[in-house]
């Protein structure tokens, strides 16, 4: 089972999510923008991508598009995380949305759902 890839330009959030998910026994990988995320995915296919919307270099929707174009990445579940109003991102083809600020419990519910699904596949 691949790691959970956390993609967010805010280092504090990436680190906190990484540590909290590690505490729960999940393997994680991190990237600070969409471009870095593609590099990580080339190294190892993640079981789930937790994706921020607004990021420099390559933002969330751009990465989502790049993943959809790539047959190897197309079926990886993506959870979009954003503080912007749902109107901005509800049309995107994501497995789930996690409005910011979210709670640890909210995060774990989503992760359990999709990371568990990945194991079953």
């Amino acid at each position: 089972m691949g790691p959970i890839l956390i993609v967010d330009d805010e280092f504090g959030i990436v680190e906190a999510m990484r540590d909290l998910l590690s505490d729960e026994g999940y393997r994680t990988a991190i990237a600070l923008n969409g471009k870095e995320a593609l590099e990580r995915m080339a190294e190892e296919r993640p079981c789930l991508v937790l994706l921020d919307y607004m990021m420099p270099v390559m933002n969330g929707p751009a990465l989502l598009e790049a993943m959809e174009r790539n047959p190897l990445l197309r079926d990886i579940p993506v959870v979009m995380m954003s503080a912007s109003p749902p109107d901005y991102w509800k049309h995107l083809r994501c497995a789930a949305f996690l409005p910011k600020p979210f709670s640890l419990d909210g995060l774990l519910v989503v992760v359990r759902r999709f990371a568990q699904g990945a194991i079953l596949q």
Partner: protein
């Protein structure tokens, strides 16, 4: 699809009287606050008070993590004498842990991991990190401590755990990490001459208004009590609707005639005069008249204890006991020693706002001045009090002692009199025919016609009486009047002075 609405910001009430008022409801849930103060400023009492309140009232779970080499047995032992301390909450609802060794051996990373895991294990909803200075000491750089604080904020934020970080700030003023947190509260002890005054100051509080400025506080058996500054609490703006026409009488016919019925309801009146001129008795008459008319009145005293005051009033035939027993005439007394102006402010607001008082007599201004460590505050404090009374239709009287008992000079002990009173009644004693005679005059009565003459104020066992004007003397205001029928000052005994 997992969709949700952003979480509504909940407030965590602090359990510290006055602080929720300053913070407009308490801490914001899942946010990180820093409490800064030198040793002895009350940080530990403050933090534990919040902890016990959180566990007891909110049913919350508290993790108290110390970074200092202090023993928890000692800490708990010191707290045991405070009324909020409840041993039954330990160790489940409130857990004390030491992170001293972890920090010493593993540095900030190990500390961050400990906090993360323990907060989760305890399902803590409130975390106190006591002694940040110890973490600063082991931090390899300023950057590292900033990163640690930031990481802590994110993690506890995700966990929904409100965090309180205690630090001395190392006495170096504001540091970078202090600006990162959601709120910064400072506890200070300041010296004014030989007096020490404790003050709380909210430097920042993200995402919410708060009361600006320095608020005094006390440390008592019940823990910390904060007295928000009256000026920051009092109502501002014009009174609702047109000014009130109703008059409040003194119940002394001559006096009420001078005032064409009394002073306006909701107005403020200064009783100015030297010691012994009858200010207190006049104020008590005013209150008694209100109580007789079924209004609730309050005597806010500094000089005379309630027993002495009742006896003094009885001496002039004013029987206050039935009015007090009935509950219409309230009396509160605080000796004019070391009062805190802000504490008096909180008491006065309570009287005005929650007790339904219609007439208030504050006896006197000099005690207020002594209570204020910063003299420049007194007139602002009074202006705020006056405005609050005006807005709520409470008629306020306060006594001001004039400096000189005799002599031509009459000085107001305060500036900007219009700001702090609409009406001024001047009371004085004058020597006339070898007798001390009291007189009263209306120096100012806003928006109302009034008698401008000087009238005699007689105080006897039958009560207070305002009688006719002095017709045959002038310069009464000086206290040493001259007869107008005889051109020279009267001699003792009333005889004619030899040329």
């Amino acid at each position: 699809m997992t969709e949700g609405t952003p979480r509504v910001t909940e407030r965590i009430s602090t359990g510290i009287p006055g602080l929720d008022t300053v913070l407009h409801g308490g801490f914001r849930k899942a946010r990180t606050y820093m409490l800064m103060g030198l040793p002895g400023s009350g940080k530990t009492i403050f933090a534990n008070q919040v902890c016990f309140h959180h566990a007891k009232r909110h049913g919350g779970r508290v993790l108290y993590l110390t970074l200092l080499a202090e023993s928890h047995t000692e800490l708990v032992g010191n707290l045991a004498s405070l009324s909020y301390f409840d041993p039954t909450l330990l160790p489940n609802a409130i857990t004390y842990l030491s992170a001293f060794t972890v920090l010493e051996q593993g540095g900030l990373d190990a500390l961050a991991e400990l906090i993360r895991k323990e907060t989760k294990n305890h399902q803590a909803t409130l975390l106190v990190l006591d002694g940040l200075v110890a973490a600063e000491e082991v931090a390899p750089s300023q950057q590292a401590i900033k990163k640690f604080i930031h990481g802590l904020q994110v993690v506890t934020g995700l966990m929904g755990c409100t965090t309180l970080i205690l630090t001395t700030g190392r006495g170096q003023g504001l540091r970078a990490e202090h600006t990162m947190v959601d709120g910064l509260l400072l506890l200070r002890q300041r010296m004014f001459g030989v007096r020490a005054v404790r003050e709380l100051f909210v430097r920042k509080f993200r995402g919410s208004p708060y009361l600006l400025g320095k608020h005094s506080f006390d440390i008592t058996q019940d823990g910390i009590i904060i007295y928000p500054r009256l000026e920051s609490l009092a109502e501002s703006g014009p009174p609702p609707g047109p000014p009130l026409d109703a008059k409040c009488a003194f119940g002394i016919p001559g006096m009420d005639a001078m005032l064409t019925g009394g002073v306006a309801q909701g107005s403020t009146t200064i009783l100015l005069g030297p010691s012994g001129s009858g200010k207190t008795l006049l104020g008590l008459n005013f209150l008694a008249e209100g109580a007789r008319r079924g209004e609730r009145v309050h005597y806010f005293a500094f000089y005379d204890s309630p027993e002495r005051m009742v006896a003094q009033a009885a001496g002039i035939g004013l029987d206050l006991k039935p009015l007090i027993d009935r509950g219409d005439f309230e009396v509160s007394f605080r000796p004019p020693t070391e009062n805190l102006l802000d504490k008096l402010g909180v008491q006065l607001l309570d009287i005005i706002r929650t007790r339904g008082v219609r007439r208030l007599f504050l006896d006197g201004y000099d005690a207020l001045r002594r209570a204020a460590v910063r003299q420049s505050r007194v007139s602002r404090f009074l202006a705020a009090l006056v405005n609050e009374c005006r807005m709520r239709g409470v008629t306020l009287l306060y006594s001001v002692e004039s400096v000189s008992a005799f002599g031509p000079e009459v000085t107001f002990p305060m500036r900007g009199i219009s700001m702090v009173a609409e009406n001024v009644l001047f009371l004085r004693q004058a020597e006339l025919d070898s007798r001390l005679r009291r007189f009263v005059t209306v120096l100012k009565l806003r928006n109302s016609p009034h008698d401008t003459s000087l009238r005699e104020l007689c105080i006897s066992t039958k009560g207070m009486e305002v009688t006719g004007a002095f017709t045959d003397v002038e310069a009464m205001m000086t206290g040493v009047p001259r007869s107008t029928t005889w051109s020279e000052p009267r001699r003792p005994g009333g005889g004619r002075q030899e040329p």
